[in-house]
Amino acid sequence: MKPAPFEYFAPRSVGEAVHLLAEHGTEAKVLAGGQSLVPLMNMRLARPSVIVDINRIPGLDYITPGPMLRIGALCRQRTAEKSAEVGARCPLLRDALRLVGHTQIRNRGTVGGSIAHADPAAELTAVLAALGGEVMVQGPKGARAIAASDFFVTYLTTSLASDELLTEVRFPAPPPGAGWSWMEIARRHGDFALVGVGAVLALRDGVIAEARIALTGVGPTPVRAQDAERLLVGQAPSEGLWEEAGAAVRASLEPDGDIHASPEYRTHVAAVLTCRALREALTRVREAS
């Protein structure tokens, strides 16, 4: 259980890192928190011949508030979890962060790294999808923004090119007065979610003006439950409406089964958690007003 040999670089700037990635292409992997990559390397399931350790690059660990909450690539998950800014402007992210692994993992793991790793059962990817966020990436030809809907391609695969470095994750702030909820089922505390649901609700004049629902653990990428969202907008909130939304989510999913959960279990749990998340989000709307 020792990793295969590799060439190690610890660049001191984003430009240097990008240069290294461009030079070594698919043979290189970026090392940030290492909480996903190093286990794969220790088990030799991944054997990159070049490691580009970005932990020595200054100025990438920021949390900048604004209409988009901007989180630098090296911001540790634990820092974001405890940040007053995140708690105030993006409580959905904070609640999801608390369920990412354990404290020891979050002390090193980064928000950006989790997004770039794109595990199909990760929490943060679903939060990004739910909020309609985007990532900033830097390549040899310059910087570009990639929307969440274009970023996640399939299992562990994003639209990051092999010579691009993710530098920032942007979470749009929910509308004022919006309620949120993160619900997840996992066998043990800290496990990857069997199914996770993130929901955001905004009301205007007693009816739902905006609804966002995203799920993790039910497909190769986070899933936006757009059928359920459309169903909710314009309606007055009610228990029956939540159940309809849950049913819409169930109907739209075709998850795979594995030893942890069957497809039927996942669709059932997805529907139940959607209901519960919407219910909790509404409670928070009411608390906010």
């Binding site: 992997k29 990559l37 794969l40 088990m43 030799r44 399931l45 991944a46 054997r47 990159p48 794109a118 199909p120 059962a121 399939t154 299992y155 562990l156 695969t157 990857f192 497909g219 190769p220 795979d256 089964g257 594995d258 030893i259 942890h260 497809p263």
Partner: protein
């Protein structure tokens, strides 16, 4: 692990049959296949490099075609082992005419063991389906260039989107 699905390929049954028996087409369309060497009729030695994103492994093994009932039925067996683990898959393939196109029904029984099966358990099924999907997409592209038997007539449309379920 059982996987099954159907795919529609834009060619006649005879053309599809020829293609899925053609080692060139198999070499081109089997994801990760680097080398395919015939060692006996319908038996090949295979070398694969396969994986998702950074998780890649090299495997060596054997591909065999048995129970041939041309032009509509055979069983294809692929087994391989390597550092990350081993796999043994058996796929029963049946072809059915659907207008000018061919409906391919496949039922696969796949056993995966070793490290990749333990650690990758929650993704293996989905990734397996994805790779099979890539196989058929490649076949579709291969056949898209082939004229249907008889030539001259309009080419069948038919999307090659597959549906698969895990049992």
């Amino acid at each position: 692990m059982k996987l099954e699905g159907t795919n529609t390929l834009p060619a006649s049954v005879n053309t599809v049959w020829k293609t899925i028996n053609d080692p060139e087409a198999l070499r081109r369309c089997t994801p990760g296949l680097k080398e395919l060497k015939e060692v006996a009729p319908d038996t090949y030695e295979a070398r694969l490099e396969i994986g998702v994103a950074a998780v890649k492994g090299a495997y060596t093994g054997r591909l065999a075609i048995t129970d041939k009932r041309p032009p509509t039925h055979y069983i294809i067996t692929l087994e391989g082992s390597g550092g990350p683990g081993f796999m043994k898959g058996q796929g029963t393939v049946d072809l059915e005419r659907e207008g000018d196109a061919t409906l391919v029904r496949w039922v696969g029984d796949i056993q995966i063991g070793g490290l990749i099966a333990g650690v990758g358990q929650r993704m293996i099924g989905g990734i397996g389906k994805m790779l099979i999907g890539q196989f058929f997409k490649c076949l579709e592209q291969t056949l898209g260039g082939a004229a249907p038997a008889g030539g001259g007539g309009p080419r069948a449309g038919g999307d090659a989107a597959g549906s698969g379920e895990v049992g």
